[in-house]
Symmetry: C2
């Protein structure tokens, strides 16, 4: 872990709520919720949501609040949800947020783009 992440017990509800109270960041969480089982996503895969610079900003916000984990992987950054940590800290919270966030319009759109980008013949 080369980037600073808060310890589990440093994660606070006000910070997490503030981090999630933004459309772009909520969409990022929605996308992650949909494909976290497959090992998360890298920043570039959220490019449909906003600019590259702005993504760096929002991903950092989520990381600093303790909502996601960001792991360098070559020139990329692999982003995953801190499910276990959040469940431990605020039981039931993440699941209830995800249940709604997973169906947000911005998430639907991004996932569609992501799917078509990995279709055979598009590479």
């Amino acid at each position: 872990m080369s980037l600073p992440h808060p310890e589990t017990d440093q994660i606070t509800l006000p910070n997490v709520l503030a981090a999630l109270g933004d459309d772009t960041r909520l969409a990022i969480i929605g996308c992650l919720a949909r494909c976290d089982a497959s090992g998360g996503l890298v920043c570039g895969q959220f490019s449909g949501l906003t600019s590259k610079t702005n993504l760096t900003y929002h991903v950092a916000k989520l990381r600093e609040a303790g909502v996601i984990n960001v792991r360098p992987e070559g020139t990329k950054r692999r982003v995953t949800l801190r499910r276990d940590d959040l469940d431990q800290r605020f039981p039931g919270f993440l699941d209830s947020v995800i249940a709604t966030a997973i169906d947000l319009p911005a998430v639907e759109t991004t996932m569609r783009e992501l799917a078509s980008a990995t279709e055979p013949g598009s590479a």
Copy 2:
């Protein structure tokens, strides 16, 4: 209901999260969670949290997001949590937030003030 409140199905997760992502408002929710069974609270009872003007502002934010109900009662405004509506819309969400919000320092302090203000002999 003389003040505008969103219908249950108009309540959105981004709005609710943004409304709760503020220390003052989270403290209001914590206080309400503690004594909602006893019929809610009136604005003035949150006076330990911030100024009167600022309370009007934050209470309006929570109301507009659909988190609380505000009912005129003489010159006062009775504030209650929209538990049923939120449970219907985002199952489990409110409970998980309350579990943590109820123990916030600002809530503890406010509840102590509230308790001492209703002690026999203080009226």
